[in-house]
C-alpha cells in the first residue's frame, strides 16, 4: 500500500481502529441526512460510534432510533425518496427482517447505502461470520461489494454513495464486511482529510424526489401486470451500467487516496496453474496459504472477488484464463442448489473459456468456524490433485467440518 501525498495536503495521521469504527468514520465524513439503524451484533460498533458523532454534534444527520430493522430500512427508503442521503447498517438476522424493504429500496431505485456486517442466519443461533445473509440478497438488485479489512471498510464506504447515486445507476449499495473479522479487528486505517472525503462524495442531488418543491413525485405506487416487467428490465440495465461506474469510481478514489482497488483482486495469478477464488476477509489467510504452497513449489494464485453484484464476469474470465484447476471458497450453502453461490457464478463466468478450468467447490467457515492457513492449504492440495488427475472431484468439499 502506497500513500500518494499531494504537496498541499497534510494527510491525517493513520488511525488504529476496527472495521466498524472505520465505517462510522466514513459516515461522519459523508454526513448523511438520515441514518436509521437497529443495533445487532456484530454491526454495533458502527452505530455506537456514529451515534456518538451525532450526540457530539459532529454531523448534521437525523439519527432515527427505530423499533426494528424492518423499520430502519423503511425509514431510509422514506428519507431517500424524500430527497435525502440515507444509510443504515445491519447483520444476519437484521437483514432477514429487512428483507421486504431490501427489494423495495432497489425497486424504487433509491441509492441508499447499507453496511452489512456478515453474520450467519439463525437457527441454530449464531452471531459469528458467514455469508448466508449476503447471499440471501444477491438477487435483489443491490450493488454488493465485499471488503476484506478495516481499511477497505472505510475506503468502500467512501466510494459507495458515489456509485449508488450515479445517474446511470440509482441502485442501493451494500458494503459487505465480515462480522468480527473485519468489524472488530483493530488495524491501521488511513483516512482522507474530511474536506477531501466530502468533496469526493459530493452533494446528493436527486433528479426527482417526493417532497420536491413545485412538483413532487409518487414513489412505490401500484405497478401491476402492465408495467412491473418493464421496471425490472430497467433494473437489469442499471445493474449492468453500475459495473463500469464502480470501476471508474474506484480508479478516481485511487487517485485521491493512493489506494488502488479493483473489481477483482489477483494474487500471484500470472503463472498460476491452480487457483483459489475467495470473497471477503479470508483473503488474508488464503494469501498466507498460497505463500506457503509457493514455497513448496506449487504454482498457485488467488482471485478475490470484491464486486460481487454485479458479478464482474469479464474480469473473472480474464483472471482465470490459463489456470488449469480452480477451487472456489463458498462461505454459505445454497441448500438444494446444483452449486453454492460463488461456485455458480464462477461456473458461468468460465464456461466459455477455450480451456475451461477444472472447478471444485469448498464450503468453509460457516457460523464463524475458524479459517486457519492449514485449511486453505488443504484446499490447494485438493485442487492440485484434481489438476494432476485431470478430473473434477465430487463437489463441494467441506473444509473444517468434523
Amino acid at each position: 500500500m502506497t500513500t500518494k501525498q499531494k504537496a498541499s495536503i497534510t494527510l491525517p495521521a493513520p488511525l488504529a481502529i476496527n472495521g466498524g469504527e472505520a465505517v462510522a468514520y466514513a459516515m461522519r465524513q459523508i454526513d448523511p441526512e438520515v441514518v436509521a439503524a437497529y443495533p445487532i451484533t456484530p454491526q454495533t460498533f458502527i452505530i455506537e460510534r456514529f451515534s456518538e458523532y451525532v450526540a457530539d454534534g459532529l454531523v448534521s444527520t437525523e439519527y432515527i432510533n427505530v423499533e426494528s430493522e424492518h423499520a430502519a430500512l423503511s425509514a431510509c427508503v422514506g428519507a431517500c425518496a424524500a430527497g435525502g442521503r440515507a444509510q443504515t447498517a445491519t447483520s444476519g438476522p437484521g437483514l432477514a427482517l429487512m428483507f421486504e424493504i431490501v427489494w423495495v429500496a432497489s425497486g424504487m431505485r433509491l441509492p441508499l447505502v447499507m453496511h452489512l456486517c456478515s453474520r450467519a442466519l439463525s437457527a441454530p443461533l449464531n452471531i459469528l461470520c458467514d455469508h448466508s445473509d449476503a447471499m440471501a440478497m444477491r438477487e435483489s438488485s443491490w450493488i454488493m461489494m465485499f471488503g476484506s479489512n478495516p481499511q477497505e471498510a472505510y475506503d468502500q464506504a467512501i466510494v459507495a454513495p458515489t456509485v449508488a447515486e450515479h445517474p446511470d445507476v440509482l441502485l442501493p449499495f451494500a458494503n459487505v464486511l465480515d462480522g468480527f473479522t473485519v468489524t472488530h479487528s483493530v488495524e491501521r486505517v488511513d483516512v482522507l482529510p474530511d474536506e477531501d472525503a466530502k468533496s469526493f462524495v459530493g452533494e446528493y442531488e436527486p433528479e426527482r424526489w417526493a417532497l420536491q418543491p413545485g412538483g413532487g413525485a409518487t414513489f412505490g405506487g401500484l405497478d401491476a401486470n402492465d408495467f412491473y416487467f418493464e421496471h425490472k428490465r430497467q433494473q437489469v440495465e442499471a445493474m449492468d451500467n453500475s459495473l463500469e461506474v464502480v470501476r471508474r469510481q474506484l480508479d478516481k478514489y485511487a487517485e485521491l487516496s493512493g489506494r488502488k482497488m479493483s473489481l477483482v483482486e489477483e494474487y500471484l495469478l500470472d503463472d498460476a496453474e491452480v487457483a483459489l477464488v475467495v470473497l471477503g476477509s479470508s483473503e488474508g489467510m488464503v494469501r498466507a496459504a498460497i505463500d506457503q504452497a509457493r514455497a513448496d513449489g506449487i504454482k498457485v494464485g488467488m482471485l478475490r472477488v470484491r464486486l460481487f453484484r454485479p458479478f464482474p464476469v469479464a474480469d473473472v474470465r480474464k483472471a482465470l484464463s490459463g489456470v488449469a484447476a480452480v477451487g472456489v471458497l463458498d462461505r454459505a450453502i445454497a441448500f438444494g442448489a446444483p452449486a453454492n453461490a460463488l461456485m455458480q457464478d464462477i461456473v458461468m463466468a468460465t464456461r466459455t473459456l477455450p480451456e475451461r478450468p477444472l472447478l471444485m467447490d469448498f464450503v468453509y467457515g460457516l457460523g464463524g468456524r475458524n479459517t486457519p492457513k492449514q485449511m486453505f492449504r488443504e484446499a490447494i492440495d485438493h485442487v492440485v490433485l484434481a489438476k494432476e488427475q485431470g478430473a473434477e472431484p465430487e463437489s463441494p468439499a467441506y473444509l473444517g467440518l468434523r
Binding site: 424504487m108 440509482l170 426527482r208 413532487g216 413525485a217 409518487t218 418493464e230 421496471h231 428490465r233 430497467q234
Partner: protein, 104 residues
C-alpha cells in the same frame, strides 16, 4: 400512461411524476357496496367529506352535492361517521345504474 410504452420509455422505479394520476384510474370498479345519500336528512355538516379516504364527496356552493362513484371504493366510512345516518351502503348488484351516471 398508455400500456404500449416500452421499458426504455417510462420513468424508472415506477415513480409517478405527473400528479393526479389516480384520477385517470377508475378505482370505483372495485366497489362491492355503494353509498346512497338520503338528502332529506342530510344537514351538510361535511363530516363525510372530511373522512372520505378517496376525497369522493362533491361539493356545490357549500353544500354536499353527490359522490364521485368512479373513485369511491365503497369502504363505508361515510356511512359510519354520518351523524344523521343519512348514508346507507347498499350492495352494488342491487343498484341498476352505472357508476359515472349517479352520485346520489
Amino acid at each position: 400512461m398508455p400500456d404500449e410504452q416500452a421499458w426504455r420509455e417510462i420513468a424508472i422505479g415506477g415513480t409517478e411524476i405527473n400528479p393526479g394520476s389516480t384520477e385517470r384510474v377508475n378505482t370505483g370498479a372495485w366497489r362491492s357496496e355503494m353509498p346512497i345519500i338520503d338528502f332529506s336528512r342530510c344537514t351538510h355538516c361535511m363530516i363525510c367529506w372530511v373522512d372520505c379516504p378517496d376525497a369522493c364527496f362533491e361539493i356545490s356552493d357549500t353544500r354536499l352535492a353527490g359522490i364521485d362513484l368512479d373513485h369511491c371504493k365503497g369502504c363505508g366510512i361515510c356511512a359510519a361517521v354520518c351523524p344523521t345516518h343519512c348514508i346507507t351502503m347498499v350492495p352494488e348488484s342491487s343498484v341498476p345504474v352505472k357508476s359515472s351516471e349517479s352520485g346520489a
